[in-house]
């Protein structure tokens, strides 16, 4: 079996990244928050595991994640990059500031919900109005 590890890492410079490594089974994903060289495969050899994330909500409706903040600070101090989902997770956890796209997505969702509610409200108002007008009309008609 050919070991490609050192050849990968010595060809052109890679960098250290903190990202999610996918594990688990079919229809049951599970992420490990991992520090690795960026040119390794997603689930390949990593430098250190800094935590885990269960993307499926548990019995109480929570998505559970665990983080080793001490080692995270160390690796960030050593100059590790973050992948986008890792940044978003850390923003939600409160360790880093919230990612802009988290806020933007929330705003868009809110706007969409409002837009959905308004057409429901306005047809309901418009139907209620003529409905009340016609009802006494029909009642009054003999």
């Amino acid at each position: 079996m050919v070991q490609l590890g050192s050849c990968l890492l010595r060809g052109r410079g890679g960098n250290v990244v903190i990202r999610f490594a996918l594990g688990g089974c079919t229809n049951r994903p599970f992420f490990r928050i991992v520090v690795a060289n960026s040119r390794r495969p997603r689930d390949g050899k990593y430098l250190e595991q800094l935590g885990c994330l269960d993307p499926l909500p548990n019995a109480h409706g929570e998505k559970v994640a665990g983080l080793n903040l001490e080692r995270l600070r160390y690796w960030l101090g050593c100059g590790a990059q973050l992948s986008r989902p890792a940044e978003k997770l850390l923003g939600l956890a409160g360790f880093l500031p919230l990612h802009p796209m988290t806020v933007t997505a929330a705003e868009r969702l809110r706007r969409q919900r409002q837009r959905e509610q308004q057409p429901e409200a306005s047809p309901a108002d418009s139907t209620a109005g003529p409905g009340t007008d016609t009802a006494p009309g029909t009642d009054t008609a003999p």
Partner: protein, 218 residues
């Protein structure tokens, strides 16, 4: 960013069907100047497979971009990156501080450092002492050699003097003897003299060089 902003700018709609298709969308006031993509993004098929018949009239367009939202999002990104870089600098300083402390701790506690300094001072003193002794020895050696050289030179000089004296003595002696030499001028006078004073050498000598007065026969 620029392509996104360009997409927001109102421009001529390429197809009339587009305007109808857009209809009362989220941004009805805008007729963005998009151009449909020339080459579709790759999926299951390779670049050499032709597109399907159901996709003949299909026009794929990039997602619509709201310029206000875009500016707001860019501002948020800028601030986010500012905070992130500040945090990274903070963590870097922390890591360096920890490394420095570890190094100092590994170097040893206060007493060890004191002892180290004392020992280094003692070592320096020893070195100085040895150096002094060595210099003393070297100086003495040099003096010895100089003295010896002087002696040899003096001896040589004396030998030369003695030699010269000997030679001078010989020369003087020769000069003295030269007075008795027979020269061409003296020749005839000396011959006359010898003939006038005959000497008798008819004697024997014993082993010690004394003249023998008595012979065995007498």
């Amino acid at each position: 960013m620029l392509p996104a902003l360009r997409r927001c700018r109102p421009g001529p709609v390429p197809l009339p069907a587009l305007a109808a298709a857009l209809g009362p969308g989220p941004f009805p006031a805008l007729c963005p100047g998009w151009s449909p993509r020339a080459v579709p993004a790759r999926g299951r098929k390779s670049r050499h497979d032709p597109p399907a018949k159901s996709k003949v009239g299909r026009v794929k367009l990039p997602p619509p971009v709201d310029p206000e939202e875009l500016l707001v999002v860019l501002e948020r990104y800028r601030q986010h990156r500012l905070v992130l870089n500040a945090l990274r600098a903070e963590f870097r300083a922390e890591v360096l501080q920890k490394k420095r402390e570890e190094r100092l701790a590994a170097a040893g506690s206060l007493e060890e450092q004191e002892e180290h300094r004392r020992l280094m001072a003692w070592n320096d003193e020893e070195n100085a002492r040895q150096r002094a002794r060595r210099e003393e020895r070297l100086r003495k050696q040099e003096e010895e050699e100089k003295r010896k050289k002087l002696e040899i030179a003096e001896k040589q000089a004396r030998k030369m003097e003695a030699f010269v004296e000997e030679k001078e003595k010989e020369v003087l002696q020769l000069q003295e003897e030269a007075k008795n030499f027979i020269t061409l001028e003296n020749l005839e006078a000396r011959i006359e003299e010898c003939l006038d004073n005959p000497r008798n050498y008819n004697f024997a000598i014993d082993k010690d060089g004394r003249i023998v007065k008595r012979t065995v026969l007498s």
